[in-house]
Structure formats: structure tokens, C-alpha cells
Amino acid sequence: MTGLLEAVYLVVASVALILAVIALLQLIMFRREIRYVLGNLNSKVLRHVVKSIEKRRKYKNRYLVVRLISSSNISVNELQKRIDEAFIELYGRRGYSEASPRVLYFNEKTSKAVIRVRNHYRWGVLLALAYLERKELLTQVFPERTTGTYKKAKRYAETA
């Protein structure tokens, strides 16, 4: 009986030893990487990671559905021109080329428009529309919805 127990202890001890050796080898192999991660895990690195993630999302478009009320009839081209002017005045030509706001659709019945813009500048477009409202080129501006696809945005723009 005692012989059997000793054999079991021996097996357990040898397994533990093997596992310890493997862990030690892995620690030696990945020591540099672990030290690098632990040493650099501070706010600066996290900020860098967040920025890189944001950069990856840089070229995603958003489709803004806005209801625009104007005293005179307004066409898509005219609206595009006005938004371009306001956006350039607020953000400059560089900001405009990065944002590239485009009026894709304007429904005269519901007076809703779909404006495509780069994700980072979606609030900028609303400011540009407010700028037009201040200049009395538009009477009222109602931001309705922001979608990720044109199909959905058009569906919202078509409904009253």
C-alpha cells in the first residue's frame, strides 16, 4: 500500500516538475515581450492604441438625415453649394476635403435631405447647417437621424 502511495507521489511530483520547466522555458522565451508589454502599459500607449483604432475607422461614412425648412424652394445643387461654403468657412479647405460632405438626396415633399459625410465630421455638418440658419439661408434645421448606410437613410428621408 505504501509503495503505491509513493509511486503516486512520484508521478505527481514529476508532472509538476515538467510543468514548472515548461513554464520557465516559456518565461525565458517570451520574457522580452512580457517586459515590453508591462513596461509600456501606460496612458501614452493606450492613447496611441485608441488613436490607431480611430484611424482605422477614419474612412467610414455616415449618412445624416436632416429636415430643412427654407423660405424659398431649394434644389440639391443649391443646398450642396451652400453647405460647401459654410463648411469651408468653418473648417477650411483641408477640413472640407477630409469631410467631403455630399448632399445625396433631397425630398421636397418631406423636406428631408440625406447628407453623406466622413464619420469624424458628422457634428461639423450640423454646425455648418446651423451657420446657414444664422445667415437666414435656411429657416429651420432639424437633425433627424444618423445611419451607416444610404439605403436606411433614404428610407427615413422618404417617410414624413
Binding site: 457634428w123 461639423g124 444664422r134 434645421v141 437633425p143
Partner: protein, 205 residues
């Protein structure tokens, strides 16, 4: 259910009151704090609250009136926060050089220490942006707000009908100025309500 907003600072003349109320109602405002009205009234479900500008000399009259008492400061000299004024004051409206110059840090620290809520007029900020002025003073104030050391409420500050915008536009403005989403939203929703509650208008939603 639509959320109702509060415009904590509006300077539209009383002759345009009906049009203002109509536009504000369309933009989901339930309460407007107006400069030039004598008393509280309700027009087509929009509640109009009078606003009194407080200065050191006008304190006795301000105590009597049932209104929102605001100290309007455009320069550091106008920011006289004596005990006499603080007794009746509900908020401080900041504008002019206090928004454009960052060298008045002491004035902002004074506001932080006193703990009075600060009202910023979006109309003035938009004017400064469109004229290409530096907003370093405002940035200092917003940095205090971001660290929860001060309470800021954004009012329209509209002097005309075309300067009243949708609340989401003001939210966009605050985000573009560098505030976080939570702080930007609370500057438009909870902070104006708490200012009005502090002035005795407890029924504000």
C-alpha cells in the same frame, strides 16, 4: 415621449415673442429664460421665465423679483462676486474677453471656488468662431468643467430668431469644442434644470 430642453439664456426682443415660442416649441424646448419679460408666463406649452441681470448696485431690486438672477461678466473687472451679490445670485453669464483671453485664469479659479454655475451663450461662441477669434478662455473653462470642478450650462443667447437652433446643434458645438459626450449632454439637459431649481423653479421637468 420627446425630451424637453431648457434654453437658459435668451435675449430675443419681446416683439418677436410669439414667433420665438413657435420655433422653440418645434425644437422641443419646454422652458425659455428671457431677458425682457416682466413676469412668468406660459405660451403654447412653453414656459417663459424672466431673467434679471444682477450687479452690485442693483441687488436690492433683484431680491424682490421672482426671476433667474444672473451676473453678466464680459471682463474680469465685472466679475465682482461679493457676499452681497452671491446671496441672490443663481448663475454667472460669461462672455466677451473672458472667453477669448486665457490670461484671466484667476477669474476662472474664482468661479470654481465660489461654486456658482456658469452660463455660456452659444450665439456668442458661434460669432467668435465665424470671426476666427481665439477661444482659449473658453477652453480653460471647459477643461474645468470636464474635470467636474465647475457647472456649465449652454444657453442659446439668441438676439434674433435665426440664432435659436436645435439642441442637437448645441450638442454638436460642445463636442467640436472638445467636451466629452456625457458632459456635453449634461450642459444642455441636467445643468440648466438644476440652475432653475436653485432659483426656486422646482416644477421644471
Amino acid at each position: 415621449m420627446r425630451f424637453k430642453y431648457v434654453d437658459v439664456s435668451n435675449k430675443t426682443p419681446p416683439s418677436l415673442l410669439n414667433q420665438l415660442v413657435e420655433k422653440a416649441s418645434n425644437y422641443a424646448y419646454s422652458v425659455i429664460v428671457l431677458r425682457d419679460i416682466p413676469d412668468f408666463r406660459t405660451l403654447s406649452d412653453v414656459k417663459l421665465i424672466p431673467c434679471t441681470i444682477v450687479s452690485y448696485d442693483e441687488v436690492p431690486q433683484a431680491i424682490k423679483s421672482k426671476s433667474l438672477k444672473v451676473l453678466s461678466a464680459r471682463t474680469p473687472d465685472e466679475l465682482k462676486l461679493s457676499n452681497r451679490v452671491l446671496k441672490v445670485l443663481n448663475a454667472v453669464e460669461v462672455g466677451g474677453r473672458l472667453l477669448t483671453d486665457s490670461k484671466f485664469r484667476k477669474s476662472y479659479v474664482k468661479l470654481v471656488n465660489v461654486g456658482v454655475p456658469v452660463i455660456i451663450n452659444a450665439s456668442e461662441v458661434l460669432d467668435l468662431i465665424s470671426s476666427g477669434r481665439d477661444l482659449s478662455g473658453l477652453r480653460v473653462l471647459l477643461s474645468f468643467y470636464e474635470r467636474s470642478r465647475i457647472t456649465i450650462a449652454l444657453g442659446s443667447g439668441a438676439r434674433n430668431l435665426n440664432e435659436v437652433h436645435h439642441p442637437i446643434v448645441y450638442y454638436a458645438l460642445l463636442l467640436e469644442l472638445g467636451l466629452s459626450e456625457v458632459k456635453a449632454l449634461s450642459a444642455l439637459t441636467t445643468n440648466p434644470v438644476s440652475i432653475l431649481r436653485g432659483a426656486g423653479f422646482d416644477w421644471v421637468a
